[in-house]
């Protein structure tokens, strides 16, 4: 039985129409004209318990609006939602007990209180049995190395420490579902890895369902087995990461820096995408030509000072999807 189900979810924001400038602002005070903005057009998906899903899309695609509806703080314009059997906006508080939320940009902890007291407050809010609380706190403290700054007020923690605190705080009451919004934003590589490891472990050990919203696709690649791609309020892809990779990850870009300028550079099995000074971008179909073969061909013919594969594969796929939209079983583009 799915733990989260949304069916033709739609959210339209209505605001007073406003002309630009000061005059417009004054006129808006008396205006009765509204304009509508569709944040979520049509979103349907269903999640099984224990899944980790990457919910991704460009800025303004409707990700946060969906999450806010799932947490019960936004009422959908139409469509239906069920989260662990509840309609979130009808049972906001009860729904809140089933979920945990972590925002990379905003702390859930109490700013003036030491971390330990913030946790104590959460224990009271969620009515966590004392023994369970102590056990969870010990486990998370070990996993996230919290002991060192348990007595520090949250406002004085570094971003990495605060995020670790936030994660522990969101998991103390054993939520069935956690919503993670940009959980690794601004963190260094080590802190990022610690957080990812924590998410993996919590999911594995406790069967927690995870919805991960992020622009860092490395998070998704590392954690999620399934992704839901949303653009302009509509789901454009929902399925395993591998399928996207097979269908869209056919082409990659090799970036080379030449030792000396080359007017008419040509390499078998690749197309010159762009050439700026000595930097040349070569696009190739990895099913026809492997990166290794291509590099060898380039080096046989030219002297180069540097080379790199343009970006992580998943990023180029998603970028293409944002730009072109998804067409199921798309034919491989000719090389």
């Amino acid at each position: 039985m799915p733990i989260i189900e949304t069916d033709h979810l739609r959210k339209v924001f209505r605001s007073i129409k406003r002309e630009p400038g000061l005059g417009g602002a004054v006129a808006a005070l008396f205006s009765r004209e509204y304009e509508e903005k569709v944040a979520v057009e049509d979103v349907s998906f269903s999640l099984e318990p224990g899944e980790i899903v990457g919910y991704i899309g460009p800025n303004g695609a409707g990700k946060s609006t969906t999450i806010k509806m799932l947490t019960g703080i936004l009422v959908p314009t139409s469509g239906s939602i069920r989260v662990a059997g509840l309609v979130p906006h009808e049972r906001r508080q009860q729904n809140a007990e089933n979920i945990g939320v972590v925002f990379g940009q905003r702390s859930q902890l109490y700013w003036d209180l030491p971390l330990r007291e913030s946790f104590e407050l959460l224990r009271s809010i969620y009515d966590i049995p004392r023994a369970r609380y102590e056990e969870n706190l010990r486990t998370f403290s070990d996993m996230l190395d919290l002991e060192r700054f348990m007595g520090t007020p949250v406002r004085q923690l570094s971003l990495g420490e605060r995020m670790r605190g936030d994660f522990a705080g969101a998991m103390l009451h054993d939520p069935k579902i956690v919503f993670l919004d940009e959980p690794t934003i601004g963190l260094d590589v080590i802190a990022k890895e610690a957080i990812r490891e924590f998410i993996c472990e919590v999911n594995r050990e406790r069967g927690t369902t995870v919805i991960l919203t992020t622009h860092d696709l490395a998070d998704v690649e590392r954690l999620a087995s399934r992704i839901i791609l949303i653009d302009t309020g509509t789901v454009i892809y929902d399925g395993p990461l591998e399928r996207l990779r097979e269908e869209y990850g056919t082409h990659r870009t090799l970036v080379i820096t030449l030792f000396e300028p080359e007017a008419d550079l040509q390499v078998d099995g690749a197309v010159v995408e762009s050439q700026e000074g000595n930097v040349v971008r070569l696009r190739f179909d990895r099913r026809v030509t492997s990166a290794e073969v291509l590099v060898r061909r380039v080096m046989d013919r030219y002297r180069i000072t540097d080379l790199a594969i343009a970006e992580p594969e998943i990023e180029s796929i998603v970028r293409r999807l944002y730009l072109e939209g998804y067409r199921s079983s798309s034919p491989a583009a000719p090389a």
Partner: protein, 270 residues
Amino acid sequence: MIATRRRFRFDPYVQFMKKSMAREATYRFNIFTSLGSFAVRVYLLRTVWVALYAHNAAPRGLSLGAIVTYSTVALLLGLVLDIDQTRALHDRLHDGSIATDFMKPINVPLFFFADGTGEVLFHALLMVPALAIALLFVHITVPPAGVLAAFALSFLLGYFVGFFLNFILNLTAFWTLEISAIQLITTWLTDFLGGQIVPLVLFPVALQGAVYALPFAAMFSTPLLIYIGVIPPARYLESMAVQAAWVIVLAAISTVMWRAGSRRIVVQGG
């Protein structure tokens, strides 16, 4: 799956209150400045009244002793009544963190009430050292126990008037986000029209009807006039009924505003 209703628990709100008290206690500089400015104001007001009374025999039947007692007790009440206790609502609307409050299994307005109450209780404790300081400069008349009890009850009602006025003020942040100008005006109105600085009985007779009709008088003036005996026991019931009526009216306005404001969040996304 059958969803059962949640059982209401007081504990989280008691915890919010305690944490907020503890938080206030950490702002030591704030405590000293607050006591310091209290002492200065007690001294200045006494000086002003003494100088005025040297040229004027007791206006409207208020003796110098009564008026000094009045203004000192008014300043003591101000330690509690002047607190911007639901400021957290405005702050959290301003920086958007109100959304995270709604994601917790709590009654959000009750959370702000508990948070403000903790702050108020801490400042109420400050009234003790403040009183001790005041007694260095001024003599305060203490009325009989019955009057004191009526004063305490009236002060409590005044406190709730103040709470809801403050809550309404901070609730406007749902629509305007920026409230510092309204706040300035409100502080001035409560202190002046509430009779904290000058007793309302000294206002021009033509104005008195108007100022007594405002909720500010229910905050400061009523308990203070009970204390110095201008409101006699025969009028206690009537005076406190007016205060209670204000509590009900302002609570109703707050409720309507809270519903409309939080609806803006759930419908418009803040």
